[in-house]
């Protein structure tokens, strides 16, 4: 099975985020970066599928030079090779632009399965995997915890996937491959990076690509106007009455006080 895992390098979980001088993105200079959490679960699922069914796991990531560290971490955990797409100013790009880059790179590989994380820890759009599926004309499923391969491991194989819905409900779907799946956190126990893995990663191939080489226009159609820190205000109002009355009062407040409707 040839599995591609799209990974993103995001500011680490302990990052103290500050807005930069332009007010349009965050100050990156003193941040620690790490592999996006749900992408780590996507990688884990891919590695487990490889261990079970054989094949190859390729990670692909778009970003500035520093994503090389995260790519090496993925190689150390067991991915076989990587594709790095040079892409500065990820903060100015939108999901469509990034997805175009990823889809173009993925197309050259002809994989059986494409896994992405459910959403990123910084922008949290949750769209990249879905857009990639659309651009590649492939079926997709989101919120996946587990993947089961049904018949053999060739391109006509069916897979059965378990989706996590709300309130403790799960849904199982079967779909053909190739397909795109966006993976939810928590489905597996993650493996730790080992010294042996890192040493082996040194000799694994990292193919470098640029937007020009991919022949893709990745200019954003959605522009980020401004990024600001949320105002910390705390006030709790208990809405009286039964569910109907409380709901009515709530809608009024959301419309006229908070003004989000």
């Amino acid at each position: 099975m040839k599995i591609i895992v799209a990974i993103k390098q995001v500011p680490g979980p302990d990052a103290q985020v500050r807005i930069d001088a332009t007010g349009k993105w965050i100050e990156e200079s003193d941040l620690q970066f790490a592999l996006n959490e749900s992408d780590a679960y996507a990688l884990e699922e891919a590695l487990q599928l490889k261990e079970k069914h054989g094949g190859e796991v390729i990670v692909v990531s778009a970003g500035p030079e520093r994503v090389g560290t995260t790519i090496r971490e993925a190689l150390a955990k067991g991915a076989d090779r990587a594709i790095q797409i040079a892409c500065d100013d990820l903060g100015t790009r939108d999901a469509l632009g990034v997805s175009r880059l990823l889809a173009a790179a993925i197309k050259t590989e002809n994989p059986d399965l494409i896994l992405t994380g459910l959403q990123s820890e910084d922008l949290g759009l949750g769209q990249t995997g879905v857009i990639v599926a659309e651009l590649l004309g492939l079926p997709h499923a989101t919120l996946i915890l587990h993947v089961e391969v049904l018949d053999g491991a060739g391109t006509q194989a069916q897979i059965k996937v378990k989706r996590e819905l709300e309130e403790g409900w799960f849904q199982t779907i079967e779909l053909p491959t190739p397909a795109v799946l966006t993976i939810q956190s928590g489905g597996n126990k993650l493996r730790y990076a080992t010294l042996m893995g890192i040493k082996r990663a040194k000799t694994k191939e990292v193919r470098q690509l640029t937007a020009a080489e991919l022949g893709v226009d990745s200019a954003p159609v959605v522009l980020l106007e401004q990024v600001s820190m949320p105002q910390r205000k705390k006030s709790t109002q208990m809405l009286p009455g039964n569910a109907q009355e409380a709901a009515t009062a709530l809608v009024e407040k959301l419309k006229f006080e908070v003004r989000v409707l």
Binding site: P13, D14, K189, Y192, L195, M196, I198
Partner: protein
């Protein structure tokens, strides 16, 4: 009345037949010895070299050889009566050197110690004293092994040991008896031959048994790694620790073959004493069995048939085993080496271990908490920030920064430092020193943490560190050396003891029992300073297992972060002992010991003694001013 002392009888004339018989037996005996010993020597020499071993400086090695081998210091000190008996047996062996040489020379007609000569007469009596004490000693050891049967010697009775004891006894008895017969008598000749047969029978038995230590252990003691619980650096890209036979180094092989199976290591092991699978003696013998069966060129995993992975991960790295070993076996690097082999290759699958590793891969502390928690603590306590101008950097560590009890210790220590007018500051950001991952064998993570920390300390211009945690102190001072030059570091007990005369002493009749932390006591040799500090607040009483025999709290070796233990909890075992001293207060000097005992004492219920750190005891006497 003239006292006529007997002289040693030596047959003066041996027939040609006797000479040939002796020569034949001696050659056979020597061959029997060499055939087996040569094999073992080969296995040791074929093992890979220890790349970080430095023979020089020789001074310490020569001293240890003199003190521990020749004077049998550790043998006697840690198990007095049996140790003394063994010392007599050993000294007799040494004293007998010339006697044995002469004994063999006599049959060939070239005896050089004539019993009538001045020197010889004195020497033979000198040796007779040793022979007597040896005979008594070996008899006592025989009784101990076969009748008293202490459990540390193992379940199975060793008949081989019985046979050796018999031979030694015969050697001594035949020697002593020779004083009471005449040269020309048949008895003298019989005694001579009995002595010879015992001697020539003994020699080939040596390499086939644990008595190989006669030959190897002086070398093993002399060739120690140089430090206590010293973990050697990995060498080269293919070294992941002790994975298979090919990873066993010469030092490890030498040590495996030196084991005398005395069980002192197991006797003091916290895991072995609380019903766990781990038995340090069996770890060493497991390696020996591997080497005997498969040799040092085998690729078969060391953890499998010969040693269990489960056992290896029950070790708290307390070092009691290594400290007790009279023949110089260094258990801690062996255990950590076996762990490295499992962790660096990803073979170790443990959900708590993985959680710890992932927490430190992504975050800054072993507890998996956000560093803003530490920031809030610093702000709340109004701890000064280190800006490069202060004398000390107060290192909080994971426990001092994030654990509630650890924070109390830091707060009180800061109060004392304020009172003393010490110039200090805390770093804005700290990463875990890496102690738990180092002891668990994760070299990738440890390297990342050590290098990141060393760089941060250099950037912040830190020259001196004081820490409340012996694990941090050890890791910073010793383990970080592999990746750079750490700043000076000391434990807060060493700091406080220096200023003890300036700290107010409280007069009361409270009994305080101090628990020696493994990483402060055995690892750092610091026993008196924390007692000096604790004594400021009451009367010191001692636990039965104290100082270098202190019983571990159970947290070390990364075990505080792993899951539930099997058998009795180590912390409960030790807490019960401390409570039984009747002291009103238990004084700790390590935030991990503190946390483990807090748990254990909660299980004790009503009437449990108070548990405090020595910093808290020191702070008690301070005036309750608002300026802290």
């Amino acid at each position: 009345m003239i006292l006529v002392l007997p002289t040693l009888a030596e047959p003066q004339h041996f027939s040609l037949f006797e000479k040939l018989l002796f020569a034949g037996l001696a050659v056979a005996s020597g061959y029997g010895f060499w055939r087996q010993f040569g094999k073992i020597l080969d296995k040791i020499l074929q093992s890979k070299k220890d790349p970080s071993f430095r023979l020089f400086p020789l001074g310490k090695r020569i001293w240890e050889f003199f003190w521990e081998v020749l004077c049998q210091a550790k043998v006697v000190r840690e198990r007095p009566l049996p140790g003394l008996a063994h010392a007599f047996v050993f000294w007799a062996f040494c004293a007998f050197a010339l006697v044995t040489l002469n004994h063999c020379a006599v049959v060939l007609g070239i005896g050089f110690l004539s019993p009538r000569g001045q020197f010889a007469r004195f020497y033979f009596y000198f040796v007779a004293a040793f022979a007597l004490s040896c005979a008594v000693g070996i008899l006592g050891l025989f009784v101990r092994r076969f009748f008293i049967r202490p459990k540390w010697l193992g379940e199975k009775l060793s008949y081989q040991s019985g046979a050796i004891a018999l031979l030694i006894f015969v050697l001594m008895a035949t020697y002593l008896a020779s004083f009471f017969v005449t040269d020309a008598s048949l008895t003298a000749r019989t005694l001579w031959w009995l002595h010879t047969l015992a001697l020539l029978g003994f020699l080939p038995l040596i390499p086939h048994s644990k008595h190989l230590h006669l030959v190897l252990s002086p070398a093993t003691v002399f060739l120690s790694r140089g430090g206590f619980a010293q973990i050697p650096p990995l060498s080269g890209d293919e070294d992941f620790g002790l994975v298979a036979g090919t990873d066993l180094t010469r030092l490890v092989s030498l040590q495996a073959y030196s084991c005398v199976e005395c069980g002192r290591c197991t006797e003091h092991c916290p895991a072995a004493n609380t019903g766990k699978l781990l038995n340090p003696k069996e770890i060493v013998l497991g390696l020996r069995g591997y080497l005997n069966d498969l040799g040092p060129a085998s690729e078969e995993p060391l953890l499998g048939k010969y040693n269990a992975q489960e056992a290896v991960f029950q070790c708290t790295t307390c070092g009691a085993c290594e400290f007790q070993c009279p023949v110089g076996i260094e258990h801690v690097p062996i255990l950590v080496g076996l762990r490295r082999g499992a962790v660096n290759t990803g073979v170790w699958e443990d959900q708590h271990g993985a959680k710890l590793f992932l927490a430190l891969e992504r975050g800054s502390n072993a507890l998996g908490l956000s560093p803003t928690e530490r920031d809030k603590f610093i702000e709340k306590q109004a701890l000064p920030l280190f800006d490069g101008t202060q004398e000390y950097c107060l290192w909080l560590g994971c426990m001092g920064g994030y654990d509630p009890k650890g924070r109390e210790i830091v707060a009180d220590f800061a109060r004392v430092m304020n009172y003393l007018g010490t110039s200090y500051g805390v770093l804005r950001k700290e990463k875990c020193t890496g102690d738990p991952v180092r002891r668990l064998g994760n070299d990738l993570l440890f390297q990342q943490l050590a290098e990141a920390n060393l760089e941060a300390l250099a950037q912040n211009k830190v020259k001196k560190i004081v820490s409340i945690c012996p694990h941090c102190v050890r890791t910073i001072q010793e383990d970080w050396k592999e990746y750079g030059t750490p700043p000076e570091v000391e434990h807060h007990s060493e700091f406080l003891a220096r200023y003890a005369d300036r700290l107010p002493k409280q007069i009361n009749d409270e009994n305080i029992v101090f628990h020696d932390p493994c990483y402060l006591g055995r690892y750092r040799n610091v026993y008196d300073q924390p007692r000096t500090v604790a004594a400021l607040a009451g009367n010191l009483v001692e636990a039965p297992r104290n100082r270098e025999r202190s019983f571990c709290c159970g947290a070390g070796g990364g075990l505080a972060f792993l899951g539930e233990e099997t058998g009795e909890r180590v912390s409960h075992n030790r807490a019960a002992e401390l409570v039984a001293t009747g002291a009103q207060t238990i004084a700790a000097a390590c935030p991990f010991c503190n946390t483990m005992f807090r748990d254990a004492l909660a299980a004790t219920g009503e009437g449990a003694p108070e548990l405090v750190d020595i910093a808290q005891l020191a702070a008690r006497g301070l005036p309750a001013s608002g300026g802290s």
